[in-house]
Subunit: 574 residues, 2 copies
């Protein structure tokens, strides 16, 4: 075959000039592994203890190990962990799809609990983990200070011409301060529940309450985490007073409201645009394309304005499933429902695969140069703090929530509290991304504490994903489903909603009826006090039917079709 | 609002540490522009002269101009043109979708014509453009040599210790050689029809013959282009003989067959996997995900093996629409059909937007430092060569094809030849990407010829896209549709296929009938001579029904549903 003799050289020349071979290899490996994950995950579907995320994680670990062996122990990095890849391309579709497919009624019914857990809970957990870490630092002098801090402080002094003054005293104070900042950063990183992990482990159909509370908490505490993370980086912890606390609260409220408003605005804009222009007339693809692009746009604009992209895209998903989705043709409905789910599914699997492969990265283990014992000790302490930090807010807050709520069915029993506590323990890719961001970009290459913290983070993530991930489903089965009493669930809610509507009508609650306008208002107020959630829901539905749906479309204002992205239960109530 | 005083600083700190702001800005701008393109394209739908690609191109030009003005004439680059982005992420979904939605019967009916145009045509065009460019170089000494070539040759000499020998003579020969290589590169870049442009301008429903020939040519000549491009870079043009030509032909056949085989293999693998494992049992998303990933995998593996990724992914799309698509659940069928089309649509729009914005990049215009006149002159010469090069193979090859074909309906009339010639003139993003690859990565920053060629390429692309793109549809209407005689189209083909089947059955063509095995074979051979296309089609369908579909699934071997990705016309024949 003399003809082909010169082929290899020529072709490799061509490829190397055209595309970066390492990129092609990396993509090929990842796509192959993704296919393998899907097939294995499908085969293990019947197995209660395994799920797609654990499969992906383990497959990532194994293939990372194989690459390590093949490359002769040099490096297992095929793709370097990239925060940009994660936050710009992988996270938005996952969160958007969660908002798009969430059971809206269940979510908003538990909204007060979600906010309580997402805001107050995260702050409590943050404080506890930070304090715990400070305590550990004080006892173990090994970990007391990032080594470069004294040097930096010294330089600062020199510039200020204060070298002759009591440097030692100042350094001590400075080190103390850095210690606090450092511990607070760890607190901020580890206090947030990973919403991606939650999605994989909890099932919206089986345990709607648990899903909406734990996942909702994960979404809301993204805003909390941003505020805390920023506070850690810019605040002076030596003089925290009431004013600073109020300032932080104001910042949080600002972030939360603007992010939510942005998401809702973009969602409504897409609904209005698609309803007015009626793209489906010519092409289904345009409708689907504009929905995808608008959803992504909401996230990017939020990031551009330094808001919480996760909150924005989540609420954009909710609004799109409530209005936009009903304005498109039927094939677009099927396509969007499944393609959003598919993209999210691929992104989730990719993330776990990625975390698994990253864990076997030999470079960072070498860099940390700590013994296996130290790594394990630090990881154990971190995980213990996560356990305690979560326990410290779930139980008290659940009981506070129980005191406020009157109806028995709304109360969070102890067994539910246990599952909420346990299901939110998982730490995943978000934690790793934040940890890389905080501990590797600091430019302190000589430091051994930073790499140690990254490796410890990886150990915590691996452990919590594998252990919590596989134990959660059996735990839920044992605690929630088998012992489940016939509590007041969705079924009775519909009934009581109908009752409420009758009640309103009996009291002349129709706003059209002129004249006795005081009576319904006061009766409405009384009802609001007695059944707050239901009254808000009823008022919202009236507002929605009268003002929103005529403008933005939605069910009832376009030809009705069976099946909705949020499932049958939602059909009657959203 | 003292509370918010410190917000901006804190937030920008956070964002800058977390995500690269310029990336976020670039993505936001592009996504917004994509949305604008879709809306404007929708509003201009009724307009015959405009289409989505021209809208995107003009919008890209305008927004590039705005950025240029805003940045004070410094730079309009928001995203630098990136070959990797183009070849790895944008091109594969477009070509895959084209294969997935192509009318298979029409495509394979014209397969001989497509191969003729794609292989021989591209070679003729390549030779003509190269020769034309050499002629231009010889007359215009300005453009004779890339300035750095003599210096390079001198260095080579020095290293070889040959400085005392007749350098001037050698340099003359070397320059002559470089000139040829240089011209040949231009030939290779400009001889390929842009399949992405073709997709935008031609309509598969209205002009199936034209679409399949021109688009098919674009797909096949990707393999031809790779071979030519490699040949240009590695061959010695001073002694081209018959053996070299045979070698090139062998290389092409190797590339063509292996690429096609790889695509078919991956497609069949996906069909077999999905049929055997039956993913739909648990989740629609897994089916859709595995189809997307396998399709992408076929392209990446082809690139990894230095084959023609475009050919591979195109045939993978054909096989997937023939087998895999019929093995999945109905909602997966709707989802894949529309989501592949949507992704392809977004990628196409993105490419044209990108080309438009790239054209206003002030840096490369400054770099080329040639007067507007020179740029225009070079572009005109290039475009004229493209015109002549295409004319030189379309008319002769069409007539050769006419001589071979006997039936009147299969013949390519003059008006069809004109539209084939015209519709294939467009040069688009592929040309730009190849041009960047060839003329900017050569490391000759001091050269003015290379930037001049890049800017000329951009002018040619803009001109051909806008002019050819807007004139093609009206031209087709004028030439093809209005004067259309009732030719033998798909309708009569179905009839004659049924006749053929009857003919086979009368002759005892059923292979099951033992005994008289010689008779049907000889009659089959006679039929093959008389109606080659139909006989091949008939034999293929028998083979397909007997061996392929039972293993890999396909229509008839899974519950039949109305609607297929290739449309109604295909239902009876594919």
């Amino acid at each position: 075959m003399a003809i082909f003799d010169m082929l290899p050289v020529k072709f490799s020349l061509f490829t190397s000039s055209m595309l970066n071979t390492s990129t092609v290899v990396a993509i090929t490996v990842f796509v192959t592994l993704l296919c393998a994950c899907i097939v294995i995950g499908h085969l293990l579907e019947e197995n209660r203890w395994a799920n797609e995320s654990i499969t992906a994680l383990l497959l990532g670990l194994v293939s990372g190990g194989v690459v390590l062996l093949v490359s002769g122990g040099k490096s297992s990095r095929i793709l370097v962990f990239n925060e940009e890849l994660f936050f710009i391309y992988l996270l938005p579709p996952i969160i958007f799809n969660a908002g798009f497919q969430v059971k809206k009624k269940q979510f908003f019914k538990n909204f007060s609990t979600i906010l309580l857990f997402g805001i107050i809970g995260t702050i409590i957990s943050f404080c506890l983990i930070s304090l715990g870490k400070i305590a550990v630092f004080t006892t173990h002098s090994l970990l007391v200070t990032p080594p470069t801090t004294p040097a930096r402080a010294f330089l600062l002094f020199k510039r200020l011409g204060l070298t002759s003054l009591g440097i030692k005293d100042y350094l001590a104070v400075h080190i103390e301060h850095m210690k606090i900042v450092f511990a607070a950063a760890i607190g901020a990183i580890f206090s947030a529940t990973d919403s991606v992990c939650t999605l994989q482990v909890l099932n919206q159909e089986e345990t709607p309450f648990l899903y909406s509370v734990v996942f909702g908490e994960g979404v809301v505490n993204d805003a909390t985490s941003i505020v805390l993370f920023n506070a850690v980086q810019s605040l002076d912890f030596s003089d925290i007073d009431v004013f600073t606390a109020l300032k932080l609260l104001g910042t949080f409220l600002y972030l939360f409201c603007t992010s939510t408003a942005l998401g809702i605005t973009v969602g409504l804009l897409s609904a209005f645009g698609i309803k007015t222009l009626y793209f489906g007339r010519h092409s289904t693809d345009r409708e689907v394309a504009i929905m995808m692009l608008m959803a992504y746009l909401s996230y990017m604009v939020a990031e551009l304005l330094s808001l919480s992209g996760i909150l924005t895209v989540f609420f954009c998903g909710i609004v799109m499933s409530h209005y936009t989705w009903h304005n498109v043709t039927e094939s677009s409905r099927v396509t969007t429902k499944h393609s959003f789910a598919t993209i999210s599914f691929i992104a989730e699997t990719f993330i776990f695969l990625y975390v698994g492969m990253d864990a076997v990265d030999i470079d960072q283990w070498k860099e940390s140069s700590a013994s296996a014992g130290t790594s394990l000790a630090v990881s154990s302490i971190l995980f213990a703090l996560v356990l305690i930090g979560r326990a410290a807010f779930v139980y008290p807050l659940a009981n506070i929530s129980n005191c406020i709520k009157r109806r028995d069915g709304d109360k969070i029993e102890l067994r539910k509290q246990v599952t909420i506590w346990w299901a939110g323990l998982m730490r995943g890719a978000v934690t790793i991304a934040l940890s890389y961001n905080q501990f590797s970009s600091s430019g302190t290459s000589s430091s051994t504490v930073y790499p140690l913290l990254i490796t410890s983070t990886i150990i915590v993530v691996l452990f919590s994903t594998v252990v919590c991930g596989s134990v959660t489903q059996p735990l839920i089965n044992a605690v929630m489903l088998r012992n489940a009493k016939p509590t007041t669930s969705d079924g009775t809610d519909f009934a009581s909603l109908d009752d409420l509507r009758l009640l309103f009508l009996e009291n002349g609650g129709s706003n059209d009826a002129s004249g006795n306008q005081e009576a319904p208002r006061s009766s409405g107020f009384r009802l609001l006090m007695r059944y707050p959630t239901h009254t808000v829901h009823y008022l919202w539905r009236k507002f929605d039917d009268r003002f929103m749906r005529p403008v933005f479309g939605g069910r009832g204002f376009v030809p009705v079709v069976p099946g909705s992205p949020t499932g049958a239960a939602d059909d009657q109530t959203s």
